[in-house]
């Protein structure tokens, strides 16, 4: 294991990606993820990799599509407005069943919005984002360590299922520095017989494509893809459960909101309130079963979000609306304080 170093979250993603065998990065400048691109521009030329600042987010994601088609590990990163621009390309990548990593270091919106941390791209990330029926595997780091670990995992899952993965971070986790133990460099060899690398005159040509003009064929492709999604939902749900066993009130939060919430849960416990925290690490697939199980014992749920309330829908669905679900939120780049979350917990405690 390597020594712990202090690193910005954005830089930890970059270094972890390189150690996961990613040698191709394409991006376009946008705050608050610029350190990631800067890191790549410094490192890639030294290790025989490719860093290219594209003319737009649209071009960047299409360069990603090209490299992904060749079977190599590839990524792009941006922040909310830039990720909106990438949606067309992401839909094509999903529709062509290619693995790739897209990083969204979220900032407040809509429109040009602001540059402070946000989680308001939750719907976009988990429900598709671009056109058509598809999902990304969406991982939500809550620490600099997870920025590194989940980057590595995202590449593996994307390759395993031929599904693009997204790291859904935010301005805080991107900008903050924490000690991180970087994963060891690994050499990855995943068999990708579908890749376009030249036929070598030894096989029939491979085609990377999402066009199926015959509706029955296109339907079949969608059905097959959703079979794979089912496998992902069965096998790849990840979450952290904190003091939930006897909890009356379960706070659900991911990323930076989960860290704030953990402080609030600790304080609530000190004050004699049985609060707990479920922190989804994958928000697609969402930890539905974990929440459904808790709804048998818990009396109420609180969704803590840096948005106007998006994940709360998934919480309600997961527990089939069998318990009250409250929203504790800030938006536009504001972050709820532990006190605000604590107030929300107390309010629910009084109501149940």
């Amino acid at each position: 294991m390597s020594e712990k170093v202090l690193m910005k979250g954005n830089e930890a993603i970059a270094e972890a990606a390189i150690r996961a065998g990613c040698r191709h990065y394409f991006g376009y400048p946008i705050t608050p993820q610029t350190e990631l691109a800067a890191y790549m521009s410094k490192r890639m030329p030294k290790i025989g990799g490719v860093f290219l600042q594209a003319e737009s987010e649209i071009s960047a994601i299409n360069m990603v599509y090209g490299v992904a088609g060749s079977g190599k590990r590839v990524m792009t990163s941006s922040s909310s407005p830039g990720v909106s621009l990438k949606q067309e390309g992401i839909s094509y990548i999903a529709g062509s069943d290619l693995p790739a990593l897209i990083v969204n270091v979220q900032r407040g919106g809509p429109g040009l919005g602001g540059i402070q941390p946000s989680q308001s791209d939750y719907f976009q990330a988990t429900k598709g984002g671009g056109h058509g029926d598809y999902h990304l595997i969406v991982l939500t780091p809550a620490s600099v360590q997870e920025m590194a670990d989940l980057t590595s995992l995202a590449f593996d899952l994307a390759d395993k299922y031929r599904v693009p993965a997204m790291l859904l971070a935010d301005g805080t986790t991107g900008q903050m520095m924490e000690p991180v133990e970087l994963p060891e460099e690994k050499t990855v060899s995943v068999d990708k017989p579908w890749a376009v690398t030249g036929t070598g005159m030894k096989r029939k040509h491979n085609i990377i494509n999402s066009l199926y003009l015959q509706p029955d064929e296109l339907e079949k492709m969608n059905f097959e893809r959703f079979e794979r999604y089912k496998l992902i939902e069965e096998n790849e749900v990840r979450y952290e459960s904190y003091l939930t066993e006897d909890a009356d009130i379960v706070v659900v939060a991911f990323g930076i909101a989960a860290r704030v919430s953990k402080n609030a849960v600790n304080e609530a416990r000190r004050q004699g309130i049985k609060a707990g925290l479920v922190r989804p690490i994958t928000v697609w697939p969402f930890p539905k079963k974990a929440l459904a199980d808790l709804s048998k014992t818990a009396k109420g749920f609180i969704s803590v979000e840096l948005s106007m309330g998006q994940m709360i829908d998934d919480v309600r669905l997961a527990i089939n609306c069998s318990r009250p679900v409250a929203l504790c939120n800030r938006a536009g780049g504001m972050i709820p304080s532990p006190d605000e979350v604590l107030d929300s917990i107390k309010k629910m405690q009084e109501g149940i």
Partner: protein
Amino acid sequence: MVVFEKPKSLTDAEFHYCPGCTHGIIHRLVAEAIDSLGIEGRTIGVAPVGCAVMAYNYFSCDMVEAAHGRAPAVATGLKRSMPENIIFTYQGDGDLASIGMAETVHAATRNENITIIFVNNAIYGMTGGQMAPTSLPGQVTQTSPYGRDVKVAGYPIRVCELLSGLEAPEFITRVAVNNVKNVKAAGKAIKKAFQNQIDGKGFSLVEVVSSCPTNWGMTPQKALQWVDEKMIPYYPLGVYRDKSAEVTE
């Protein structure tokens, strides 16, 4: 004995193109270039959105279907990850000169070592004949029913002239396929555009002035005549940039 056979780097799939369409000729010229350079096994083509959207079925090399206008970006990704492979895009005028202009210009200014075959028939064919960025002034289309009014819709874009204003690109040329002589010249230009890539020279674009009898509402013969009388005067044939020629001179 004269033997006429299909180039090896075309598949057996039947073209879906309209009667009299020149895409068939251009596909063949591309395939002949690939065959004669012996590069099929390491070539990857990028198909556009437009009439040639299903080009991936026609070329027997590996193929990628790009989103509308994004082929040069996709080709950039492919080439950067596999520098030893030969990457070409095959794009129409709406794809390359309208929605994909940024990708085109920036691939050119990076002197991206790729080959672009740009088919200019002055109309959106696949969607049924709308005005293209290269539709001529006064040209009647579905979305310019009174003729392209340059005061409203602006002027057609001359891609070769525009790109040759850039410092970087290696080779930019405009050819046509409206008669045997021009077809032969087009074949030579396309081959050179691939040879340049093999030699690591950089961005090579061949604009092929082409026809669309169906959407122009003409017979194939009349359409070829229209290429000669209307298109070529606005889009003069010739070499707009050839860096290696400049060096040898």
